[in-house]
Symmetry: C2
Subunit: 509 residues, 2 copies
């Protein structure tokens, strides 16, 4: 393929944005490789490489040339519809350009370098549960993010700057309001089921599950979801994640716990949900900044929907349970769909976010959201973080944190500079609730399909309504189209009540 020189400003913009999308793929590959393949001593060189790519990419993007191209392209749109690819390219490009050009390229490079270094330091600190060794890295990351926030002088609050990077247009005040509502609903639900824990037996989820058999089970599961070796791969990672290098090169990761089955099973479904989003972006948006879904709330809505609403749903549990029974010995070999469904939905306040049930999960997020703001606003020092973390876990979830590896060091995000990311998980749950309600209305026999292990129509519905648009629309714009309104707490809570009524034999209407 050649890219002939042209004077058509839209083609020129597409070409420049295409090169920037290539550099984004490079940054992503550097990170994917670091997390899955790189030998540990490669970390120093890798951090410099990541910083250089970020600096060059940032310089290229924020240049006046890009500004002129955006302006010329905007004029050349000739009233193209809001929904058109070109109008979206100009609109999204201009929004990102105006934000990015406030930030010095050197700071952008410093952030990338610190993220790479921090991630490596986190692996060591977590494996030794040694928060003290991690303090300088975390302080560096928060210091850089504060300098990043200082680039913006028109914010309602500091946190808005970073939150907007993970879900453009969303404001801290909106999240705080939604989380207030969510928190009180969740606490009520926890309260309602807390005395009925003996109604659900989940002991069989703990046991001995040989990793090679887990791998086969997960391969079977992912294939049902649409995983295809010609365009996907799956690897191991300390903290699972998904990455997309365009719609034909999707990479997911998972981890394995020999003694607890849900870790790999639902972890893989979660990441595959992300992967389907990357894969589902329209061909026409490839090699463009629109080709990679931008709103992480939407992204998490996809992973959480597949992980929980499908994977931990009653219909599909009837498909999963016999496969699991066939794969392993021990008590789990005698479990049917209904017992399995109940077990994987037992509400138990616990230590680890990614293994939390759907109800307590939201509280893990609220804790992180609160702590991040306190850290950014200087109300909390990094060295005091473990104490604050443990106190908040005792207060919100009633659990004692035995060590930092299972506490403040459990997540990779802060280590790799992803500050402001966590709220999108809970927002993703809310959006998933809205989408799941809507898809049931559109596909009345969806539950029958899921019970038969047929996931195709659900995937195509999500592709049509969400995936194919890539980054053309913000989460608010997309939700207005698909569910006729903004992010809301109601459908998710209704969904949880329905599920808990079944799991605990309660009336929670």
């Amino acid at each position: 393929m050649n890219h002939p020189t042209t004077t058509d400003p839209l083609s020129e913009l597409r070409e420049r944005m295409g090169a920037l999308a290539d550099l984004r793929n490079v940054a992503q590959l550097l990170d994917w490789d670091q997390q899955t393949m790189m030998p540990p001593r490669g970390a120093t060189a890798r951090a410099e490489t990541a910083a250089t790519v970020q600096r060059i990419s940032h310089e290229m993007f924020v240049s006046d040339d890009t500004g002129r191209l955006l302006e010329a392209a905007e004029s050349a749109l000739n009233g193209a519809r809001f929904e058109s690819d070109d109008a979206a390219l100009v609109r999204v490009g201009r929004r990102r350009w105006e934000k990015a050009r406030r930030v010095p390229s050197r700071l952008a490079a410093d952030l990338a370098r610190a993220a790479s270094i921090g991630q490596q330091a986190w692996i060591v600190a977590r494996s030794q549960s040694d928060f003290a060794s991690f303090i300088p890295y975390l302080e560096r990351n928060f210091e850089l993010v504060r300098r990043y926030i200082d680039c913006f002088d028109d914010l309602d609050c500091a946190y808005d700057a970073v939150l907007d990077d993970f879900d453009p247009g969303v404001r801290t005040a909106d999240v705080a309001r939604l989380f207030d509502e969510l928190k009180s609903e969740l606490l009520a639900l926890i309260d309602a089921v807390s005395e009925h824990g003996d109604r659900v037996d989940d002991a069989f989820l703990h046991g001995h599950f040989p990793i090679d058999r887990q791998r086969r089970l997960v391969a079977w599961l992912l294939e049902r979801m649409g995983f295809d070796r010609r365009g996907w791969r799956i690897d191991d990672a300390v903290h699972p994640f998904a990455a997309g290098f365009g719609n034909h090169d999707v990479r997911i990761t998972t981890r394995w716990d020999e003694h607890f089955l849900p870790t790999s099973l639902y972890g893989a479904m979660h990441e595959c949900g992300h992967g389907l989003y990357e894969e589902g972006v329209a061909e026409a948006l490839q090699r463009s900044p629109l080709g990679h879904p931008e709103s992480l709330s939407l992204h998490e809505s996809q992973s959480r929907l597949w992980e929980n609403m499908v994977g931990r749903g009653r219909p599909f549990s009837g498909v999963l349970a016999p496969q699991i029974a066939e794969s392993f010995n021990g008590p789990v070999a005698h479990v049917d769909g209904e017992r399995f469904y109940r077990a994987v939905n037992r509400v138990t306040p616990s230590l680890i976010r990614v293994e939390a049930d759907e109800v307590t999960y939201g509280l893990h997020i609220v804790i992180r959201f609160e702590l991040e703001q306190e850290l950014l606003e200087g109300r909390l020092a990094v060295r005091d973080l473990p104490e604050a973390w443990n106190a908040r876990y005792a207060e919100y979830l009633g659990v004692d944190v035995p060590d930092d590896a299972d506490g403040v060091l459990q997540d990779v995000h802060w280590a790799s500079g992803l500050i402001g990311y966590f709220p999108t998980y809970a927002l993703g749950n809310l959006i998933a609730g809205q989408l799941f309600e809507r898809v049931h209305a559109d596909l009345p026999d969806l539950d029958a399909q899921l019970a038969a292990g047929e996931l195709h129509e659900l995937r195509e519905w999500l592709r049509e309504k969400v995936h194919r648009h890539g980054s053309k629309f913000s989460s608010a714009e997309l939700l207005a189209q698909v569910v006729d309104g903004p992010i809301a707490v109601g459908p998710f809570i209704d969904y949880l009540k329905g599920k808990l009524s079944q799991v605990y034999d309660l009336e929670l209407g």
Copy 2:
């Protein structure tokens, strides 16, 4: 680490060259990933990404800014010695800059894109032995390389332009002269042993060698050589290669043949030899264009020395054989060092270059060297290549090529644009002969060490004499220092005569 702005021209040059070294790592990672990890459908996006990185890197390098920096840095050298890192940075930087700026960045990008696409097409073509499907890709690669050569108007011959990319300063006429001498020596050796084939039994090298046991054996072997999981990794590849992302992130690859043991064994030693070179470059040269060894003749001298002079040598065969005997069942389980030594050095004209014995190996290279020149000069058309290939194999090696997979499609090089690379393998053999002669003089008990499985002193000698210098010296400059002269055929032939005298019980003095 910060990179403060400075007006010291040497620091500025170092910083710019450091960023370019980072981009080289990126290009290398894109390629490593494509050859080892990438799902096949990712190929189209990968080719665009590789092209963009190459274009940006080339533009940055060939800019007038770089020229001014080189000039200012040269003045600032203040008579620094030829051997100093700074003098080498300026000297090597200027040489590369003057060559690269003749080439349009768009052509550099087109070459990178075509290399990526061609490599993928080759995998498919080779697996189906379908040369016809591969013709358009190969034609494209040769057309682009011809356009590349056209950028230079001061060449003695077209081939000089590409040869110089793989071994700076080496000229086609020199290679032709060396190869003429080499060819007649090798043909004489083949002639001398051809009637005595029955003196060497290598049947036990064919059999059943379970891959998992091969993996364990290779792991043991590589560990002896210095492979260390903290800074190395090994993966499978269709065509084995090595890559270095600085001295602390070395990646080698190999392939496995369940029915022929030497494929993985000597393939892994070969790539580990490359890896040791990458690892051995001085810390002070990291993140610099000097940090990655540039002369592929020197590079191949390292891989071939470890593969053949150590791995297929008499002393180390006594270490290898018992390990192999312990690892497998069948006839190989009863083989001692001496029988093993003879078997792996049996001279047998054959089809596949990378599995050829050391004597016939050179002829595989001569064939490619001749064909490349004919293709570049338009004396041979790509579509006629299989016929020419097969005729040359019949003439030089007396073997019939049964299909293109085992013929013209066996090597990845042309597919990925590496035209002019092959001679460096044979030059590497010659240099290895010179180095092996010299190290025996410097370390009189080397054979005793090798017989005891001690590879440390040899590795350190190579590190001291060759590896640590990275790209500071051309192959000619380095050889002048280490063996007091230019590349020569004699020591390699003497080495072969010594070996064949033992293997065949002949007088070849």
